[in-house]
Symmetry: C2
Subunit: 266 residues, 2 copies
Amino acid sequence: MKSFTSRLKERIESSQSWLCVGLDITPEGMGQKDASFGDVKQHAKMVIDATKDLAAAYKPNLAFFERWGIAGFEWLIEVIEQIGEGPVIIGDAKRGDIGNTAKQYAKSMFDYFHFDAVTVNPYMGVDSIAPFIERAQYGAFVLARTSNKSAANYQNHEKLGNPVYISVAKDCQGLNSNDNVGLVIGATAPEELKKIRKVAPDLPLLIPGVGTQGGDLETSIKIGNYSGPAIINVSRGISFAGDHSPDAIRKAAEDYVSEMREFMNE
Amino acid sequence: MKSFTSRLKERIESSQSWLCVGLDITPEGMGQKDASFGDVKQHAKMVIDATKDLAAAYKPNLAFFERWGIAGFEWLIEVIEQIGEGPVIIGDAKRGDIGNTAKQYAKSMFDYFHFDAVTVNPYMGVDSIAPFIERAQYGAFVLARTSNKSAANYQNHEKLGNPVYISVAKDCQGLNSNDNVGLVIGATAPEELKKIRKVAPDLPLLIPGVGTQGGDLETSIKIGNYSGPAIINVSRGISFAGDHSPDAIRKAAEDYVSEMREFMNE
């Protein structure tokens, strides 16, 4: 059975893309506050159809599905089917619980929803990571240094000179015996990205925060891919590009992928 | 509109109970690996029926519902209806995301599932707490110091002498203008509990880790309730008490509540 990280590397290689398309579709994002659930579903389908060959990965954020209740979870299953084989599918669920509880979440994410990987919140310690990485073919991207403004509130607290995000990165490197542990690091924190790459050279990185949040694409793609693989997440910058038409969405994704290819070839 | 914390205090007062019944029902916990989903649902209903007048609160942990996929979410709605008016209902979801994403989770937890409060993971900073406490009638219990073994991995990292869990407690005290912010602190960390009560004197505490995990009930109830209110969560110690019969379950809950009342009256 192929490990999660091998599968991700193969997809990057075959698609020559480092793009992760984030799926966070709301009526508000569509600029149509009164858009129906059906309109929202239609928009997501359009984004997937327009980008499938360009995406190394998709990252549906569970909040945007759960908001619709049970119908939203049914929609999530449809979205995962629509994406199908090829792109890696990451459930951005930020699950963070321990032992037996985390095992139930792993059952849900991998066996029920069929995600290839899930994002994990490490606040409760290494116990909260372990249950997601028991099976090599499924992966976990653990939050290390996030891209939002208040990220440093707790992530920069230190022990023996190591900020939380470095301790997380070191622990995850140590937990990677199944070749299926990754890290989340915001593109808005390039200095932290460099430090993390040093202590976790092999781990795949999922880098959000390019685009609307102002993160730097060149630094993210170059430093991210210096040793292990790194994929760059773009959500609104693709899903709500230009006039929101299939052409505008595809064009935005193509532009991101071309830029990434150029930086990787430099 | 009554604030979440007022509602919790009133329930504690009227029930003379500080007991939060955790609902984490699995076939494995029932000692019947082959138990059907129907058996699991039946067991949960029995636990609720046997404890409703004794519980200050219930805390369904979403992992144990989500594990069953969409049918599990339908079951969660049933459970919330079964509990009905009276006990406070806390969705143990440990949601941890920011801004617009956290808003979608709040919509799901409060407007769709109708929880009174939700547990929140603060790893991403204060941005990840704010969207859950905008409406006074709904509350958030933010993870400060958890009860599990690896809790100290990151929660004890320091900034200016403050470990993460104290920074979280201070920030939450500051965010409490709507009287609806609480903290989660494990019964297994009594020293940390004392420190947290000093910097967050008013906030309601949700204290897990009594029972199977070995936390001390007396310390938890006395220090927890020294200034603000504190409820003590018991999951397996009630749901899977004795021979798992309604009588054994009720007896376990009664014993916990009697002990709590004695400690409170000392």
